[in-house]
């Protein structure tokens, strides 16, 4: 039933229409929540091997529908696009949906071709082994560097749309606790750090039913290979962010200026000790300023995404 409705919809919709997108979650709760501000409703589907929506990370906005059943069981008559947040992990499933429902695929590159999430920390893979032909009709990258890295594997339209951090993330407390770390990562990524976290009495950011506010902490440990929305939020809250040193994180953090980068566990241990001694106390305000200058433009984010949807809606249908 969806196929014919979706084809009809591709003919009758206008660039001003409100669009319906299918997406997977896979630890992208925050980004999907931001995207839901862009004239679209998002239907989050389950896929084996990909994690479900976690309300503790970000409660689903009213126009984000986390489906417990398959697409055919939800009371929706058509869809416009399928969104793929990871060319390595999600592409096959997203591409299958795109083909079977006859709707265009939009890829969103959160990371460069060099590094992938879900790969154990500090491990890079040879992208050319996996990524040939994994392209959408429109490919959105979160930064120019990410966009450039994907050029050889991108035959569709590419655009850079930097993500943004909401106003409430800039709130900071006077009396702040010690280390907060992002525990929303695969367990194999975090296990090498467990001893260090324990010795510095670090607090995990996410609990079963609630999340700690970065603004309540002085230091934030990013456990991903890239700078995701959660880390940007911590930077906005003037946290001193400690991230692994990767080509990805180096695009955002300059060591000792607006954050700290570590190479390996002993380096992490050393940097955290320095933090405790107060060596880096002055750089928290720099990270906030960096976010204010680079990731606080909600209007541009929304306008650019609306343009992407509008362009894709008027230019593409299955087969062209």
């Amino acid at each position: 039933m969806f196929v014919m409705s979706n084809i009809l919809r591709s003919v009758t919709r206008t660039p001003e229409s409100r669009f319906r997108c299918i997406s997977f979650c896979r630890e992208n709760e925050k980004y999907i929540s931001l995207l839901s501000k862009c004239n679209c409703d998002i239907y989050v589907v389950r896929q084996e091997g990909l994690s479900d929506w976690k309300n503790s990370i970000s409660p689903a906005p009213d126009n984000v529908f986390v489906l417990n059943t398959d697409l055919h069981s939800c009371s929706v008559s058509y869809f416009d696009f399928v969104l793929c947040h990871g060319r390595l992990q999600e592409f096959d499933a997203a591409n299958n949906i795109s083909a079977s429902l006859h709707i265009p695929l939009i890829t969103i590159d959160h990371v460069s071709k060099r590094i992938f999430q879900k790969i154990p920390l500090h491990t890079s893979v040879n992208p050319s082994n996996y990524l040939e032909g994994r392209v959408g009709k429109v490919n959105v990258a979160l930064s120019e560097d990410i966009k450039t890295s994907w050029t050889s594997a991108t035959h569709g339209i590419s655009i850079t749309i930097p993500t943004f951090v909401g106003e409430d993330s800039f709130e900071t407390k006077e009396d702040r606790k010690g280390f907060l770390f992002d525990n929303n990562v695969p367990s194999q990524s975090i296990s090498p750090m467990e001893n260090i976290f324990s010795s510095f009495n670090c607090t995990p950011r996410f609990h079963q039913d609630k999340a700690e506010k970065p603004g309540d902490f002085k230091y934030y440990i990013n456990t991903w290979n890239n700078i995701d929305n959660k880390t940007l939020e911590a930077m906005a809250a003037s946290c001193i962010c400690i991230s692994p040193k990767t080509p990805e994180t180096e695009q955002v953090i300059t060591h000792g200026e607006n954050g700290l980068l570590y190479s390996g566990m002993s380096d992490l241990n050393k940097i955290m000790t320095e933090c405790k001694s107060g060596k880096w106390d002055s750089i928290g305000s720099n990270s906030k300023e960096y976010i204010l200058n680079n990731h606080a433009d909600e209007k541009t984010f929304i306008d650019k995404w609306k343009k992407v949807f509008s362009y894709a809606s008027s230019s593409f249908f299955m087969g062209n």
């Binding site: 009809l8 003919v11 009758t12 006859h102």
Partner: protein, 349 residues
């Protein structure tokens, strides 16, 4: 009149071929603004689509008067934004009541043959119209083989409904090694086809050794219409088959089943109509779960009638020539102009 046509015209199979043909006929109707959009029912993609179709794909109107959906009934929908919602489909069997439920929503239903119209429930028949078929061939055949009389048929993946097994059975039971005849089978998998040939040879019981009449297995179907003498299409699928129409227009005197719908354009004057038996459909290869079940019926060839027709085609040279000429003269019956006129009358009524 603005028409939005959705169909599998980008596919490189029979569905695609019929869809392209239908687009051509619709585009010939005067004062029609045609917009097309593809639907993909299979993975076989046609890389050589008529360039005109891309023009129709580029169109987009504010408002459409008619929606034509060429697809399986289970994909069809009703949409109130159109003055008329029309379905065009192919029924390979009779009595799929599950599908009838989808068709009840439509304003009109188009099919290629009267046989298909007979296949739907009575209440739907009133709004069902046979629009015939349109087919052209590039040229008359020019490579007529002089050594052997060649029967040929398309076996594809040897699905049971192609009735290839029945063709081999009739051929083996009628002809001998010494007959100057050949059966050319187009198949996707030669090894699988050879196993079927060996199985039939054993089952008919004439051949203790593999010395049976000449059989030639080929994978490509490109030149078969140019090299064969007599096309056999006794598949249990009801409805129009573009290959049968091509064979007819090439003068290859098709052998078709009575009641299959192919007998509406292949006549006794231009081919052979073989007696058929209407029976329950037992089809192990089922593309969709509500398709090809034993609640449906289909036509199967009466083997003795099939072998008699093959013998007549082989023996009666003068009759064969007359039939061949009559087939070549069927151009008007299968013209786009004729089909276009008929579609216009139905859409405007």
């Amino acid at each position: 009149m603005n028409i939005l046509f959705i169909g599998p015209y980008r596919q490189a199979d029979t569905w695609g071929s019929i869809s392209q043909s239908l687009i051509r006929s619709i585009s010939m109707i005067e004062d029609v603004g045609l917009t097309t959009r593809p639907i993909f029912l299979s993975n076989s993609i046609d890389r050589n689509v008529d360039p005109n179709i891309f023009q129709f794909e580029a169109n987009k109107e504010e408002k459409y008067d008619i929606l034509i959906q060429h697809t399986l009934p289970s994909y069809m929908i009703y949409n109130g934004e159109f003055d008329k919602v029309v379905g065009f489909t192919s029924f390979e069997t009779k009595g799929n009541e599950q599908w009838d439920n989808y068709l009840r929503l439509l304003d009109k239903l188009l099919v290629s043959t009267e046989a298909e119209k007979e296949g739907v429930s009575k209440d739907i028949r009133e709004k069902t119209f046979s629009i015939g078929a349109a087919q052209e061939v590039d040229s008359l055949k020019n490579n007529i083989p002089t050594n052997r009389f060649a029967f040929y048929c398309f076996g594809g993946g040897l699905e049971s409904r192609t009735s290839v097994k029945e063709v081999i059975q009739a051929y083996f039971s009628e002809f001998h090694l010494n007959d100057n005849v050949s059966l050319v089978l187009q198949v996707n998998d030669q090894q699988k086809a050879q196993a079927l040939v060996d199985q039939v040879a054993q089952e008919v019981g004439f051949y203790s050794l593999p010395y049976y009449p000449h059989i030639h297995l080929v994978e490509k179907e490109d030149s078969l219409h140019d090299n064969g003498n007599c096309f056999i299409d006794v598949s249990s699928s009801i409805g129009f088959n573009p290959e049968t129409a091509k064979a007819l227009l090439k003068g290859n005197t098709p052998i078709v089943l009575k009641g299959s719908g192919r007998d509406e354009y292949v006549k006794e004057e231009s081919g052979f109509i073989v007696d058929s038996i209407e029976d329950l459909l037992i089809c192990p290869d089922r593309p969709l779960k509500d398709m090809f079940t034993a609640r449906e019926t289909c036509f199967k060839p009466r083997l003795s009638a099939l072998k008699d027709s093959m013998r007549e085609a082989f023996d009666s040279k003068i009759s064969q020539l007359r039939k061949s000429k009559s087939g070549i003269d069927s151009k008007e019956m299968l013209s786009y102009k004729k089909q276009s006129k008929l579609i216009k009358e139905i859409l405007c009524s």
